[in-house]
């Protein structure tokens, strides 16, 4: 108790920055536009490495976003999640890998297919 009092008296001259205080930068504000629809996931695999998506990277996914041509989409195809570039071809769609060793996946009405969310940011450890 006593110490607190002394500390108060010794607080000294007020900080010249006091009137100019700003809120520290918060990465959430930049990376998460819509907290209710944002989910995080971990990348596993190599099919997108040519686009810089490496094994172990952290995905920031927005479920609310509408897919657009060429977007990086978390897709659900025939019982499995996958991450590919989405390309609409009218009555079918192509899920494009970014690794020469992989083939594009063609999906149409015969597949169980849904876009789960769109990747907004990718975080990687250097």
């Amino acid at each position: 108790m006593e110490d607190d009092k002394i500390a108060l008296i010794n607080a000294g001259f007020p900080s010249p920055a006091e009137d100019f205080m700003d809120v520290a930068l918060d990465l959430n504000k930049v990376l998460v536009h819509n907290p209710a629809s944002t989910f995080f996931a971990r990348v596993k695999g190599l099919s997108m490495i040519e686009d810089g998506v490496d094994d172990g990277d952290l995905l920031i996914i927005d479920k609310s976003a509408e897919p657009y041509d060429g977007c990086l989409a978390v897709c659900f195809v025939d019982g499995e999640f996958t991450l590919k570039k989405y390309k609409s071809m009218g009555d079918y769609a192509l899920l494009m890998p970014a690794n020469k060793a992989f083939q594009p996946i063609r999906v149409d009405e015969n597949n169980q297919f849904a876009i789960w969310g769109i990747v907004r940011y990718l975080i990687k450890k250097m």
Binding site: F40, V43, K44, F76, E80, F81, A114
Partner: protein
């Protein structure tokens, strides 16, 4: 107008968000300890699986129809619930969170025309953003809004929102609606009313008010008025202060060891203290109770409770754990197998209005500061990062054989996307 937003088969729907392969397939979620079925997808309901069925009784149908079974994952459900609530708060002037999967919406002042479409848009947005399907009922009273949201579930054509306000529409609905399913009627009154030949909500509405007040309590009259379109149940934006807080669990196995039991009671106490602090309350009285397994009739049975009072109301984990441990030692008997234990606090007061005593032996300010530090560390680094040495983890006292990942609250349990 009042709206009710109800998440469809909430726990099962939460599991499905991360397991789209289970869409269209039967899913059930179990209670703590995997005891009973507490949530079912529509497909599981169609198989005749009833709410509250013990898991072992449903084994056959589960295996036969390949039903997906999940242990309850409250970390996940709590987070998904917060997401839904945040969208509601953003869209609607005021909301009242009624339970983990239901919230009332105050729609006063919004024009009637376009309300149905607004409801549909809101329902679609929640579905798109969170993956959770919801049913929104809109009506002149809370009780009618509940009925409207149930209709919404029955009729997919309504596209997630049912607006019901014209007297002739309400009558049409109430004529088909079982009186026992009306909010506030309950099992006891359903039986009583059935004996009088009253089976639908409309039958009940058609009773004279005097007859209702003769038959039932004031709640019954309120329900009757609400069904007539007269709002009687207030809109409580801020949840009312709770007068007791209780945390108790059944154990996976019967506990005979005092040390083991002590760890469980300490964990429950920490949880209670944390809840007290979150509500800015302190307690004067703490109860500890333990009970043996009723289903093992051949074993000696015991149910004991011990009540301790604090001279100065507290919400300190340390002080409460001490008291709880002493209480436990006073009631524990060697040779008994305890199946359940719990900690409850009563006589709660606002933590700012606590009266001190002259010869206080506990430094309450210091305790308050310490608790603040513990709470803030735990809120940043995850629950139970800092805890009293005698505490266990809440989860360790239960069996959860089918638990899914805590996808949204733990960094080490994120979903994995195979690319």
């Amino acid at each position: 107008m009042v709206g009710l937003c109800d998440c469809n088969n909430f726990f099962a729907s939460c599991e499905r968000v991360f397991r789209p392969d289970l869409n269209g397939k039967p899913v059930v979620v179990l209670s703590n300890n995997d005891g009973c079925i507490i949530a079912r997808s529509n497909e599981a309901k169609a198989l005749g699986i009833k709410m509250g069925t013990p898991l072992f009784q449903a084994r056959e149908v589960i295996e036969k129809h390949d039903v997906a079974v999940f242990s309850s994952n409250y970390q996940l459900y709590g987070d998904m619930s917060n997401r839904v609530i945040s969208i509601l708060k953003e869209t609607v002037p005021a909301i009242e969170v009624y339970s983990i999967d239901e919230a009332f919406l105050n729609l006063d002042g919004l024009p009637l025309e376009g309300l149905q479409q607004k409801g549909r848009d809101l329902s679609a947005r929640i579905r798109k953003d969170t993956g959770i399907p919801v049913s929104i009922g809109i009506a002149p009273t809370k009780t009618l809004a509940k009925i409207a949201s149930k209709l919404c579930k029955q009729y997919p054509k309504l596209q997630g929102c049912c607006l019901m306000y014209r007297p002739q529409d309400i009558e049409k609905v109430l004529r088909k609606f079982p009186v026992g399913d009306v909010w506030g009627i309950g099992r006891k009154y359903r039986k009583k009313l059935a004996l009088m030949g009253i089976t639908t909500a409309w039958d009940f509405c058609s009773l004279p008010r005097s007859e209702v007040s003769r038959l039932m309590s004031i709640t019954g009259v309120k329900t009757w008025l609400e069904l007539h379109g007269e709002p009687c149940i207030e809109f409580a934006e801020v949840p009312q202060d709770r007068q007791t807080i209780c945390v108790s669990r059944s154990f996976a196995h019967d506990m005979t060891d005092l040390g083991e039991l002590d760890a469980a009671v300490a964990t429950f106490t920490a949880k209670v203290a944390e809840k007290l602090r979150a509500q800015r309350m302190k307690a004067y009285v703490l109860h500890v109770f333990i009970l043996t397994n009723r289903h093992r009739e051949e074993k000696p049975q015991d149910y004991s409770i011990r009540t301790t009072g604090f001279e100065v109301a507290t919400n300190s984990t340390i002080e409460m754990t001490d008291a709880a441990s002493t209480a436990l030692r006073a009631i524990y008997k060697k040779g008994f197998g305890y199946k359940r234990a719990g900690v409850m606090v009563t006589d709660l007061v606002d933590s700012n209005k606590v009266q001190g005593v002259f010869f206080d032996t506990v430094d309450h300010e210091k305790q308050d500061r310490l608790m603040k530090v513990i709470d803030s560390i735990n809120s940043v680094n995850g629950r139970s990062t800092v805890r009293i040495a005698s505490n266990g983890e809440m989860d360790q006292f239960s069996t959860r054989a089918h638990v899914s990942k805590r996808y949204t609250t733990r960094w080490d349990e994120l979903m994995e996307v195979v690319v």
